[in-house]
């Protein structure tokens, strides 16, 4: 697997890895059957993501994209975080092999899922703000993730 130096750095030395006690929002995407799960924790103050943590079960790219995504949203407003695309995560890592692009999609979804949970906890319906988050990003029927 031809990973960039940045991917290998974030894989070997992941930033913001771990759990968070009393998180304001927790998002989890992916499925063990597909071989990757990302869990993201956020702390929010005055609409700003003041802290973020992640845990990931997955390949090198899954761990690296989670790590990079947490770096990219830390200190940002929720609006800014929602604008983070998988493409931006990939570019920040100097690219990913084509078969690993879905890992960056998962990272984007993990952030959205954590923000959705934050809104839900506050009693606000997240769907109009965050949108729908699919169970996984594989083409319909191409993977076995639905039990």
């Amino acid at each position: 697997m031809a990973y960039s130096e940045k991917v290998m750095d974030h894989f070997a030395n992941p930033r913001n890895v771990g759990e968070m006690l009393e998180a304001d929002g927790i998002g989890e995407v992916g499925n063990p059957k597909c071989g990757d799960i990302m869990k993201m924790y956020i702390k929010v103050k005055d609409n700003v993501i003041t802290d973020v943590k992640f845990k990931t079960f997955g390949c090198g790219a899954a761990i690296a994209t989670s790590s990079m995504a947490t770096e990219l949203i830390k200190g940002k407003t929720i609006d800014e975080a929602l604008k983070l695309t998988n493409k931006a995560v990939m570019e920040a890592l100097d690219g990913l092999p084509p078969v690993k692009i879905h890992c960056s999609v998962l990272a984007e979804q993990a952030i959205k899922s954590a923000i959705a949970d934050y809104y839900t906890k506050k009693g606000i319906n997240p769907t109009p703000i965050v949108g729908e988050i699919p169970c996984c990003d594989h083409e319909h029927g191409s993977c076995n993730c639905v039990e």
Binding site: M1, M8, F11, A12, P14, V17, G18, E28, P32, K33, C34, G35, D36, I37, M38, K39, K55, T56, F57, G58, C59, G60, A62, I63, V99, H138, S142, C143, N144
Partner: protein
Amino acid sequence: MEKIIYADNAATTSVSKIALNAMLPFYESQFGNPSSVYLLGQAAKKAIEDAREIIASCLGSNSNEIFFTSCGSESNNWAIKGVAHNLIKKGKNHIITSKFEHHAVLHPIKSLEKEGFSVTYLDVHEDGIIRVAELEQAITDKTALVTVMYANNEIGTIQPIKEIGNICRKHKVLFHTDAVQAVGNIKIDVNDQNIDMLSISAHKFHGPKGVGALYVRRGIALDQLIEGGAQERGRRAGTENVAGIVGMAAALKVACDGMIKREEKLTAMRDKLIENLSKIEYSRLNGHRTKRLAGNVNMSFNGIEGESLLLMLESKGICASSGSACTSGSLDPSHVLLAIGLPHEIAHGSLRLSLSDENSMDDVDYIIDVLPPIVEKLRSMSPLWEKIIAKNK
């Protein structure tokens, strides 16, 4: 990286010095085409025939039953398609194989299925071994071929080849075995074991890549796969890979001569790895504990994914492989691990270590030292591990 421990010998092996030295003259002064009439060509021809003798003697066959090919995959394709296309003329349209064959067997069979052949895929059970009673039940008067691998490439399990051969002989059905992982590691006697066809690949026993062979019992008609020349007694066209063939024979001779001693050494290393790695909680050995290749260890570690495990092992200088989807190039983990009944999420966390004579007990000790903390580190960042622990509390 200071130290490299190569523990992926089921993927490929290094070319031994003996094989390399045997090959070099055929790239330099002895470059002639074996089909040429002058001495330079005839010398190459003789080298090929000498190699054929050596390979035949390692398998207990006659030299005129050995045909050189470009690789194990070609041998498998030729044996399977060659028999199928020949016997369909006699109305035989059924093939029996196992669920965990190499893709070089499964894919040609899939294409035969599209042509109208019916196929029985034998269960390989939790231990990774077919049951001969189930094979016998599957045979019909339409059965053209039974093809069952000698030893599995991922989990190393060894099939009851002699019993399979006996049953096929009893029912007058041809028996092919993909022995790519077994040749050079296990004593083979094609007559004693009633094997009709057998595939070989040189680079699995310290020979070069790009050369293989197919043993075909005398009298078996195979449709041709590669047409266009009279080489290999008119059955497989293409100018012979002289250096490769010579290197394959040299490597196989070394492998067969040293088999017993090497098996002892590899078994001790394998068993120490299995014993120690099994101490990691929520781990499991894949495949039968003892009916497996002497150098094969295949373990799953719950809660982690194989590719990240391999990357971390590489950072410690260890080359290994995994059956995770990320290393299989598809969305599904290895079909071998699914065939022995592993759930997807456990199959994703598998690790294969395959040893050769070039490994030492020091390598084993190093792996035993380095692996558990890596598993622990990956688990500490895995939300799946969190769930496994919570569920089992």
